[in-house]
Symmetry: C2
Subunit: 292 residues, 2 copies
């Protein structure tokens, strides 16, 4: 039976440290502040906003909300971002994406308007450059792969010289996870939809990060004893029993019941990576405030 | 006996296409122009400048040289870069690095002063972001890994689904080569000095890109029949016979005499990747001019 790598344990430990750092900042007269930019009333944005606000309060981070109507113009949004850039009291910014349809063509320009120093959710090109270059002075890494690293760190999993395999090459998870694992001195392989022998490659991994986003894609054929599996994906499984006694619940890429008995350690879904990302966002806000 | 992947063949074909594109630009009244920025009289800079100028002339690219004295100040150099940025007649810029010692601490700031649109040699963070994001609208990739891709393309080596292994994780070769191979749908593994089983990992490769920069590091233990080996490194081998009948010549990472008989194809050193990079630089200048 595998050791469960529990997001809650990681988050609790991380939060405790962040509360100390937030207090230290306040003693210096700095109130760490997260600006949340939302255009419209998308339910999933509202749900994430609620969770993030609660987490921020717990840590001692002030939250300032900037809500524009669904039909806000590009100019409205750019003006708001400019104001936030110029506002020294706001240290980090979370802007919900995707933006409404009429802003989609300009989303890249809008995202890059944010000062990378406040880009705690990696939406600027300079933050991406920082991830690629392995530098921490250019923006911040995306929260999800950073949460994977928090989990590895918390459980004392040394990556040096280990074979790490990442499934997925997206800019929000796969590629940055690969760079961060390389920064931890792992030998990193990235698999993707064009990889022909993914199961075989994965079995060679000491550390396997699955970000395929495909339910039940990570079967027993992909794993072997001794592996650490980080299941990043959040998929919907309509056949999985839920807490209300019915069917339909979130699940990762792993066929958990068959993978878990084989490997050494695994993150459950839910309760794994996802639950750490919000605290990582808060960590970035604290860091941004400390850097000022 | 392996097929030799000859830089000259690649360069000749590339140059022929670039000459056509340069002519097409001139017909539209645009003279593609490379600005060369040099601080001081470093012999290796002068030697590269001579080669680049000759190549540019061959292709029909105008070269404009901007030479500052060895003791130029940071302000002098920034002012020059600002002028070049504002000069629409200059499409691409090559600035020799490393800069003299007194400018070293500011080198990053100085490099990033250049407009990424003119950054044909990947010295800005935004160019790096473009490589990481797989976008061609943010600056240009470094010329050496781009030259590796030109060689693969010229010889019709399809990367899709192939296992590609890159030795080295530098920002000028290893990391960008990994990203570019991933962009060609290869399954990419990056090995480096902390990799414990490099030879074993390399033997699994279909395409092996060696950028270790260590003479004789790529032995027969690293290769197997069927592989394509791209030897990127330029090392000095004091025991290698040179053209003047003495000893001392440049050599790659591979122990060529033992690797070449095993693999399917290999780039010689000299005569491989190195000879393609200058034409790649010119390709970037042409592209920059075409984008205006």
């Amino acid at each position: 039976m595998a050791k469960q790598l529990l997001g809650k344990e990681v988050t609790d430990a991380l939060n405790a440290k962040l509360i100390e750092r937030a207090n230290a900042l306040k003693e210096k007269g700095v109130v760490p502040t997260l600006g949340i930019v939302r255009v419209g009333e998308n339910p999933s944005d509202l749900s994430y906003e609620k969770g993030a606000t609660k987490r921020a309060e717990l840590i001692g981070i002030n939250v300032q909300k900037f809500v524009l109507p669904e039909d806000a113009s590009k100019e409205d949004l750019l003006k708001l971002i400019d104001e936030i850039n110029a506002n020294d009291a706001i240290h980090g910014v979370l802007m919900f994406r995707p933006l409404p349809k009429h802003l989609k063509a300009d989303q890249n320009e809008i995202c890059n308007r944010l000062d990378p120093k406040k880009d705690v959710d990696c939406m600027t090109d300079l933050s991406n450059a920082g991830v690629f270059e392995g530098r921490s002075d250019l923006g911040f890494a995306p929260c999800t792969p950073a949460a994977c690293m928090e989990i590895l760190d918390y459980y004392g999993i040394d990556c040096k010289g280990k074979n790490a395999v990442v499934i997925g090459r997206s800019l929000v998870v796969g590629k940055p996870a690969a760079m961060m694992l390389m920064g931890k001195n792992a030998t990193v392989t990235v698999c993707h939809t064009k990889t022909v022998n993914t199961a075989e490659v994965c079995r060679k991994a000491d550390i396997l990060v699955s970000a395929a986003g495909v339910l039940n894609s990570l079967t027993k054929d992909y794993v072997r004893p001794g592996q650490v599996v980080i299941d990043v994906s959040i998929n919907w499984d309509e056949n999985k029993p839920n807490a209300r006694g019915g069917l339909g619940a979130i699940a990762g890429d792993a066929v958990y019941a068959e993978v878990e008995p084989i490997v050494e350690a695994i993150t459950p879904v839910p309760g794994g990576v996802g639950s750490v990302t919000t605290s990582v966002l808060m960590k970035h806000v604290i860091e941004a405030a400390e850097r000022v």
